[in-house]
């Protein structure tokens, strides 16, 4: 049964929707068999909302997030994010879309190991074409906000898991994205650090007016969102 998030989909609200998905299907071919992960998924998310996505392991949460963020190509259905039709976007523009519109936070440490915390955060802005001084200024400001300014010159290998994740949050925000996609951002952290990272994500989202879609197994984290959706047997339903 198709599920609507953040109110009913209608012609009048369409422009305010940052995610508009209908009939989205996705299958993986593995060892000669096709594995249908998403089938006929419907999803409308209004700009500025906060949505949590839960579901059992292997249900396709990460797959959905990758499709929404332009990391993978959808195989069937309609997929419009921030006004861009991702099924028809050429790959060059897809890269630009990821850079300008999306802020990713992944579960596993996802920093470039050879660059310092500051360089990691600034890199996303540099890729987006921001000048070096401006990129560094933005990165410093964000590192200050996540409480890591004094660690700016450290390589990721010398930061704790929680600190690395806070750097990742700073990097996700450096281009002021319209949509933050977080895939179990606290999955590897203890409870205290998990709280702190989520607090930061929420605070920055609020500050920048971004939409937040967070995948989590943790029901207490899910309960912080205004809307919680559940992925089950390839379909979305209200939790």
């Amino acid at each position: 049964m198709p599920s609507m998030a953040s109110g009913p989909a209608g012609a009048t609200t369409e422009e305010r929707e940052v995610i508009s998905v209908s009939g989205l299907s996705h299958a993986y071919a593995s060892s000669g068999r096709t594995l249908l992960v998403l089938s006929e998924v419907q999803l409308q998310v209004r700009a500025g909302s906060y949505v949590a996505l839960t579901g059992d392991s292997g249900e396709g949460k990460s797959t959905l997030l990758a499709l929404l963020g332009g990391l993978q190509r959808a195989q069937g259905g309609e997929l419009v994010v921030a006004g861009q039709d991702l099924r028809r976007l050429p790959s060059q523009q897809m890269a630009r879309f990821r850079s300008r519109t999306i802020g990713f936070v992944f579960q596993h440490h996802c920093l470039v190991e050879s660059l310092t915390a500051l360089e990691n955060a600034a890199l996303a802005a540099l890729i987006n074409g921001v000048s070096r001084p401006e990129a560094v200024a933005r990165a410093r400001a964000l590192l200050a906000q996540v409480g890591l300014l004094e660690r700016a010159g450290h390589l990721p290998g010398r930061l704790s898991g929680g600190e690395r994740q806070r750097v990742a949050v700073a990097r996700a925000m450096v281009n002021r994205p319209a949509l933050i996609l977080a895939d179990e951002p606290t999955g590897n952290l203890d409870e205290r650090n998990a709280q702190r990272v989520m607090d930061l994500i929420e605070q920055l989202r609020h500050e920048y007016g971004a939409t937040l879609l967070v995948v989590t197994h943790d029901s207490s984290l899910a309960s912080r969102a205004a809307t919680t959706l559940r992925l089950k047997e390839g379909r979305l339903e209200a939790a």
């Binding site: 990758a66 990391l71 790959s91 630009r96 470039v112 050879s114 660059l115 890199l123 890729i127 070096r132």
Partner: protein
């Protein structure tokens, strides 16, 4: 992504694995050092061979005798004489007009009696030539200097003089000696004495490397001209006294210098057609250069194989890096890097490896070549064959360029497959489980 940002990424990625990067650079350095060392030794050997077979004469020098050539003259390097023929101003003029002739140096030989400081006189040949030729001069100085251009009191001596007066001593030993020289004139039959000498005193100012027309003494042309006038004022010489330098010919020999080794044969053909016997090391040189060319190919081949191995090593190191950085590549793409940014990242990394290795290797290769050449020249000098050590300015720039540019190019080639593989990595790798 700007070049600057990509460069920092490439550099920091290399520094993150210092041992692997260092070993890869070392591999490139060893390869290019070998290539450069072997390449420079091969090319210097070639120019040394040309010098050696020129017997101290400049490259492209041809000796011309005052004789007509035999019909098979051009098939050999040595003189093939077919009867005396005067070498006069007219002949010189004709030879000067031949294409590719850089200089024509006339030589006059005269038989003399030399009295060195020891008093043990001996019969010798004195050669006069134009000593004001500078770079085109067919003689090279081993010690001291050449006599002043028109001096009648200065002489230079050759190895055969040293063999008579200072056997086994270094060339410098003869410089500064005062000698006496007698030019004999044959007196008319029935005179009190059969010969009358014309004496002059001279100072040995230098030692020259080769025997110009088989001479013991080298003097300005004015000296031999005076000697000839003295001789010609006498009666006809009895046969056997004067050896090859005939008194009848205004010049006893010429040294003709062609533009290059390649034009030497053509000039020799021209002189043959004018009608003089010639001698030049063209056949032996061609044979030696052919051998050296084979040696070149083998040496450069060995160097190239070493560089090739270094290239494979780069490819291997970068493929490992791509495998290691799957997630990082995915993350970069997730935050907006394009395929070409990723390609650039790996190509810049390869450039750093190749360029650093190439520069270090080329420097090491030059030092190695020089050290080897020094050892060889030390050994040869001990064996009584004085040969100059390798000079850096002799080195062909092509070899240096090949060392640095070749390593770099090779690194880029080696990086092609890893870079494309990295670029094809899907962005979703960023989300992959560990």
């Amino acid at each position: 992504m700007s070049w600057g940002a990509t460069f920092r990424l490439a550099l920091s990625s290399l520094l993150r694995r210092p041992a692997r990067s260092g070993l890869t650079v070392l591999g490139v350095a060893v390869g290019s050092a070998l290539l450069v060392a072997l390449g420079s030794i091969a090319s210097v050997a070639e120019s040394r061979a040309v010098e050696h077979f020129g017997k101290g004469l400049p490259v492209g020098a041809i000796k011309v005798a005052d004789d007509a050539p035999a019909s098979w003259q051009l098939q050999t390097d040595d003189f093939q004489l077919a009867g005396h023929k005067d070498l006069n101003q007219d002949a010189i003029r004709q030879i000067r007009r031949l294409p590719n002739v850089r200089a024509v140096v006339p030589i006059q030989a005269a038989p003399v009696l030399v009295v060195p400081p020891s008093g043990d006189s001996f019969g010798a040949t004195m050669a006069g030539t134009d000593l004001g030729l500078g770079a085109d001069s067919p003689v090279s100085v081993l010690a001291g200097r050449l006599p002043a251009a028109a001096s009648l009191t200065e002489v230079a001596v050759t190895q055969s003089y040293l063999d008579h007066t200072h056997p086994g001593r270094p060339p410098g030993a003869a410089v500064g000696e005062a000698i006496q020289v007698a030019e004999p004139r044959v007196e008319a039959p029935g005179s009190e004495v059969p010969f009358r000498p014309r004496w002059f005193r001279a100072k040995v100012v230098g030692v020259v490397s080769q025997d110009v027309a088989g001479a013991d003494l080298l003097v300005p042309l004015q000296q031999t001209t005076a000697a000839r006038e003295w001789e010609l004022s006498g009666a006809a010489a009895p046969p056997g006294l004067r050896g090859e330098g005939s008194i009848r010919s205004p010049y006893s020999a010429l040294i003709v210098i062609a533009d290059s080794i390649d034009t030497m044969h053509g000039v020799r053909v021209g002189i043959d057609q004018i009608g003089f016997a010639t001698s030049a090391p063209e056949h032996v040189l061609a044979a030696v250069l052919r051998y050296l060319h084979v040696v070149d190919i083998v040496l450069v081949g060995i160097g190239a194989i070493a560089v090739l191995l270094a290239g494979l090593n780069i490819a291997n190191a970068l493929l490992t890096a791509v495998r290691e950085r799957r997630r990082e590549i995915g993350v970069l793409k997730a935050i907006g890097a394009r395929d070409r940014d990723v390609v650039r990242w790996f190509l810049l990394e390869a450039t750093l490896l190749g360029f650093l290795g190439g520069v270090a290797g080329t420097l090491a290769g030059l030092l190695l070549a020089q050290a080897l050449a020094l050892k060889v020249s030390e050994y040869l000098t001990q064996q009584g064959i004085p040969i100059e050590a390798l000079r850096l300015q002799d080195l062909p720039y092509a070899v240096v360029l090949l060392g640095v540019g070749g390593s770099w190019l090779l690194a880029l080639l080696a990086a092609a497959v890893p870079a494309l593989r990295a670029a094809k990595m899907p962005a979703s790798e960023a989300m992959a489980e560990l």
